[in-house]
Symmetry: C2
Subunit: 346 residues, 2 copies
DNA sequence: TTGTAGGCGTTATCAT
DNA sequence: ATGATAACGCCTACAA
């Protein structure tokens, strides 16, 4: 009788086989598996040995019906941004030697798809979710967090009690950029930010915080009259059009702070096409310090938020939550500016 | 009594609730769910209505114990390569309106981790796997494919009967590049390829096929004496060192064909640092036609293998296999060269 | 400390 | 065409 649906699944070694082999009960095996209380060292050793010998592997689907699946969901909206690579590296590294397996779902940019993805992950009984820069926010997010342990990265909710957050200090990062540019004696420093297509307060979004930091630093340095924030949506075409418009306009900024590296690279591209020289005609700064900044053709000054550290924290916090921690923790790393040629006057 | 382990999982609407609400048996509901035979339109309508009203969602973990989980695993080794973004876009698009959910696992470059990831996906009862440029190959891969439906992309196994493959014609792509460069009257055309750290024949790997195409085209054009294949491992440092060595050496090639865009961008970087002008001192060509090629500072000629199409095919073939197709299919798209400034003599 | 006996939500077999 | 019910592999209250 074939119950697998496709007639080729190999016969599984079950917890019962292990129990029989080790001469103990299934409950004992289950306890060893979960590292639960109430097992003697001798019994544990016997069971471990049998599991090894039989090549036993617990079936996540079955575990999920009563306990945990040891699966963590990660939702990404924009896989293009190499920053997420660093983040994932951190998450993977943190979970390397644990039973937990991170699985990534991609929700290309629309919030309906994101919602579907999250539902889908809950259908799969995942133990917890890491939401990366999610559209979801506010009350619906808090509601969700009451149903499943959640860590949010790339969204500032310092007062949330239902879930943890992991971020870099975006406001500070932007301030550091402005200060650096001012030190290089640039004054007309503009910012190219992201159009808010998502709900939620400006203060919660990453680019919103960066805008705030930018404004504050400009004001603090007596450059209030030069404050200039332009926003573009997350599409190639719109970024190009907006950049071109800014660089061809009557009073071109001396320096342009872009909310993320990806946008800065587009700006460099447009500037190159217009025959502008960087940084003499235009200084450019990005955010995220992705590996593309290092390429000589970009040589892009950027803000490092150590994505790998953030990823590690996400994993750590999520597992703590799964294990029962109730109070929220909000982790924030200090960013630093990595200066390269794109913003250094010669 | 709390069975969920963390006391906050909401009460689920089960198939039984739907059955009660619709006034039918659970078996009937299950059939509607699976779109199985033997349900009248009237019954189906009633059940659908109840499911809708109660907000019923099937629990994948439970389905996995008897039937399918409607989860497809995708393994990626190198998430850095933006080509995989296109691939994923295709996979996601193809599955958008189906019950299937693709979930990505990342196995950063070591084959032990890849093996663990695959096991882990099988523990989670995934219905099938899409392996992207896997380390796994040969007999072990065939063995695996006998246990679970598999589609492999980025590995050439035209004779495999146990699984499907999806590729672009890498050999042809390389030939097209060489022909293009020869037309631009470059003769000393070298190739920067990938060091084989993985088992398996040269003919199975993507870069191996590209080398073959390169050699053949060079020979066919009477440039045999200029054939020069240099290999570097997949690390930034090694690529840089190798590129620098090639460009500083006694007889620098006129044109350099890089096995993937990422490497080509590094080459452009090194060339820029050395003060070489592209394409006058050195023409550069990449492979994959990722979005970075379009940036003016790169303006990189590359080979387009339409990743999104490949992704679509992966999803299509995998589902066919899951539904029972036994014979292997091997899909191959024709690549095309996208010429940009990096290889065009002025 | 160890074992026994349901039960989790779904599928699929076998009656009706 | 529809329904009753025995699995699937694991977890856990409870008994010993």
């Amino acid at each position: 009788m074939d119950l697998s649906g496709n007639g080729r699944r190999a016969q599984r070694v079950t917890i019962r086989d292990v129990a029989r082999d080790a001469g103990v009960s299934v409950a004992a095996v289950s306890k060893v598996l979960r590292e639960a209380y109430g097992v003697s060292d001798a019994l544990r050793a016997k069971v471990r040995d049998s599991m090894e010998r039989l090549g036993y592997r617990p079936l996540a689907a079955a575990r999920g019906m009563r306990g945990q699946t040891y699966t963590l969901g990660v939702t990404l909206s924009d896989i293009r941004n190499p920053f997420f690579t660093d983040l994932m590296a951190g998450i993977n590294a943190a979970l390397e030697r644990t039973q937990y397996q991170p699985l990534v779902g991609i929700s290309h940019s629309t919030s309906a798809i994101e919602a579907g993805l999250i539902e889908s992950m809950m259908d799969r009984q995942m133990d917890g979710l890491i939401l990366v820069a999610p559209h979801l926010t506010g009350a619906p997010l808090a509601d969700l967090a009451r149903r499943i342990p959640i860590v949010v990265v790339g969204q500032h909710q310092p007062n949330a009690t239902e879930f943890d957050t992991v971020n870099n200090d975006d406001e500070l990062g932007a301030e550091l950029v402005v200060r650096h540019l001012a030190e290089q004696s640039f004054a007309r420093i503009a910012m190219l930010s992201l159009a808010f297509d998502r709900a939620g307060s400006v203060e919660a979004t990453v680019n919103g915080r960066r805008e705030t930091g930018y404004r504050r630093a400009m004001a603090g340095l007596g450059l209030k009259q030069h404050i200039n924030v332009v926003r573009a949506a997350q599409t190639l075409r719109e970024i190009q059009t907006t950049a071109r418009h800014m660089l061809e306009g009557p009073n071109r900024p001396e320096a342009l702070f872009c909310w993320t590296d990806f946008v800065a690279l587009e700006v460099i591209s447009v500037a190159t096409e217009l025959g502008l020289s960087i940084p003499d005609d235009l200084a450019v700064v990005g955010y995220d310090n992705t590996f593309l900044c290092d390429l000589a053709q970009n040589d892009l000054t950027s803000v490092d938020q150590s994505g790998e550290t953030l990823g590690l924290q996400c994993a750590r916090l999520l597992i703590e939550r799964i294990k029962g921690r109730g109070e929220a923790q909000h982790f924030m790393v200090k960013p630093r500016v990595v200066v390269r040629a794109s913003s250094q006057k010669r």
